[in-house]
């Protein structure tokens, strides 16, 4: 006989309640989420009790009454499956440069990365684009890649990247300056190996070289700094990829010590991301991300050279970038 602690309902009532929830979820699942997480809440429900697993009413025969016991067997097991699928998965990760009061979805994209996942071999590539890349914008001639979002929001941004690379995006996700900062703070900071010292008043990046835990505003400054870097926009895009990798490493580490931390990351992400990912898909990806070692992820930037179009400073992506797109298109990763 089993009795559930804390439950006064019978199994049939519980099942009926769950069916209602499932029907409601099914209706909502088709809706694209533009801003999730306002209502996302994690509750810890602690049931600290004798669970009612008491079985046969047999009299206790405490082993303590016996003089000694020996460990007969120890069986440990662990299994966390990752999201499977036939083809590669592509997500366009965007950072908006919207200031407070501005529409996050209709300002320029300060950070533009394709995250390609090879689900079969559990590898991934982060491919960044310098924000000044001079590219065709569908229906709008040519322009800087970051302007596509201010013209047509994430939808045009996706079409622009798809048109440039020939890679079809499965999902997009977008955060803001404030969103990035909040996410980093919510997970207790991000441990990052800063590749070189930075002192840039414009971005407020004032960091020494080496491994350190960054607060939200420091992570944001690190991601925005382009003036005090070896290669300007290219370095900035690479550094933004480094933040992704640091987050991946930290999620993996925290999940190993406490799988419940995944829920905190989910709530944090859903509160600070705009995305067309359904919540349950986001959860699947988060579980998958918790299992991918950072060493299985390439962090790259589309190569090119700086130049001018009229008075505008731009980046001309090179032919080598086209080769990277083709490589990535095949299985989700470069190399």
């Amino acid at each position: 006989m089993t009795r559930r602690a804390g439950s006064g309902r019978g199994p049939l009532e519980l099942a009926a309640g769950l069916d209602r929830d499932r029907r409601r979820r099914a209706r909502l699942r088709g809706r694209r989420i533009t801003r999730v997480g306002i209502a996302a809440i994690v509750f810890a429900v602690a049931l600290s009790t004798t669970l009612g697993l008491l079985g046969q009413g047999a009299p206790r025969r405490a082993l303590a009454e016996q003089h000694a016991v020996e460990l007969h067997a120890a069986h440990d097991a662990s299994y966390v499956p990752v999201a499977r699928g036939d083809g590669p998965l592509f997500i366009l990760a965007l950072g908006s440069d919207a200031r407070p009061g501005q529409n996050v979805l209709r300002e320029r994209a300060d950070s533009i990365h394709i995250i390609g996942v090879d689900r079969r071999r559990e590898r991934a590539t982060i491919l960044g684009f310098p924000r000044d890349s001079w590219v065709p914008i569908p229906g709008h001639g040519r322009g800087k890649i970051n302007s596509a979002m201010s013209i047509g929001g994430p939808t045009l941004m996706v079409r622009t990247v798809e048109s440039l690379t020939g890679i079809r995006m499965d999902y997009w996700m977008l955060t803001s300056f404030r969103g990035l900062s909040r996410m980093v703070d919510a997970v207790g900071g991000l441990v990052l190996d800063v590749p070189y010292a930075m002192n840039d008043p414009a971005s407020h990046a004032n960091l020494s070289k080496g491994v350190q835990r960054l607060k939200g505003w420091q992570a944001l400054a690190f991601a925005r700094n382009r003036k005090d870097t070896p290669q300007g926009d290219f370095s900035r895009s690479l550094n933004q990829g480094r933040l992704f990798l640091a987050a991946l490493a930290q999620l993996r580490s925290e999940f190993r010590s406490d799988p419940g931390r995944l829920l905190t990351w989910m709530v944090t992400g859903s509160r600070n991301l705009h995305t067309d990912l359904a919540f349950d898909t986001l959860l699947d990806l988060a579980i998958t991300a918790s299992q991918v070692p950072p060493s299985a992820v390439n962090n790259l930037v589309a190569p090119g050279s700086s130049g001018w179009v009229g008075s505008a400073s731009v980046v001309f992506l090179s032919g080598r970038a086209s080769g990277m797109y083709a490589d990535m298109r095949a299985d989700g990763v470069v190399g």
Binding site: T2, R4, A5, G6, L14, A15, G17, L18, D21, R24, R25, V36, I38, A39, A40, I41, V42, F43, A44, V45, A46, L47, S48, T49, T50, L51, G52, L53, L54, G55, Q56, A58, R60, R61, L63, Q66, A68, V69, E70, L71, H72, A73, A74, H75, D76, A77, S78, Y79, V80, P81, P259, G260, L262, L263, M266, V267, F279, D280, L283, I287
Partner: protein, 175 residues
């Protein structure tokens, strides 16, 4: 039941209800796997595996010794849970429904073999669950472990110094 919000927000009936359902799933799993020898025939009853999502059910069967003592070669006459605790953290989605849960469970049980010998079991598990096909099911088990202790053999066989000596066994390694 104590409801403890770990994020801002008031305690939520749906989270509590989900926790009840999670507790139900786990009670059935561990009741079937550890406490109810009536259903065992030196194998694990099928209903035990219903607690797992179909996608990981076969893998869970491979790890059966971590979830049950039913697969032990020795006949268990009865088992009795002495202490247990369960913590369920429920993730609420943007539409207010419970989307996932992380359960942490520990218990200690005592019992007897058909031979009359005592047996002690301690088990712990951290489990991820989601609502699948009408009930909360385990979708991953990042950490589980079961320890089984028996009285030592008679002194003339092993000697008194053998008491409490650990015997390492990996997954699948039973007597």
């Amino acid at each position: 039941m104590v409801v403890v919000p770990v994020r801002a927000g008031a305690p939520n009936d749906r989270a509590s209800r989900a926790a009840d359902l999670v507790a139900g799933t786990l009670s059935e799993l561990y009741d079937g796997g550890f406490v109810d020898p009536q259903g065992w025939d030196r194998s694990v009853p099928d209903r035990v595996w219903d607690a797992f999502a179909p996608a990981i059910r076969s893998r869970a069967r491979e790890d059966a010794t971590s979830f049950t003592v039913a697969a032990l070669p020795a006949n268990v006459r009865r088992m009795h849970v002495a202490t247990s605790s369960l913590t369920v953290r429920v993730l609420m989605g943007p539409n207010g429904s419970a989307e996932a849960a992380v359960a942490g469970l520990t218990f200690e049980a005592e019992g007897a073999l058909e031979s009359g010998e005592g047996v002690a079991v301690s088990s712990h598990a951290t489990l991820l669950l989601r609502p699948i096909e009408g009930r909360w099911r385990i979708i991953a088990y990042p950490d589980t472990g079961t320890r089984i202790a028996l009285p030592p053999p008679a002194p003339e066989v092993r000697g008194p110094s053998a008491a409490l000596a650990p015997v390492a066994a990996g997954p699948g390694g039973t007597r």
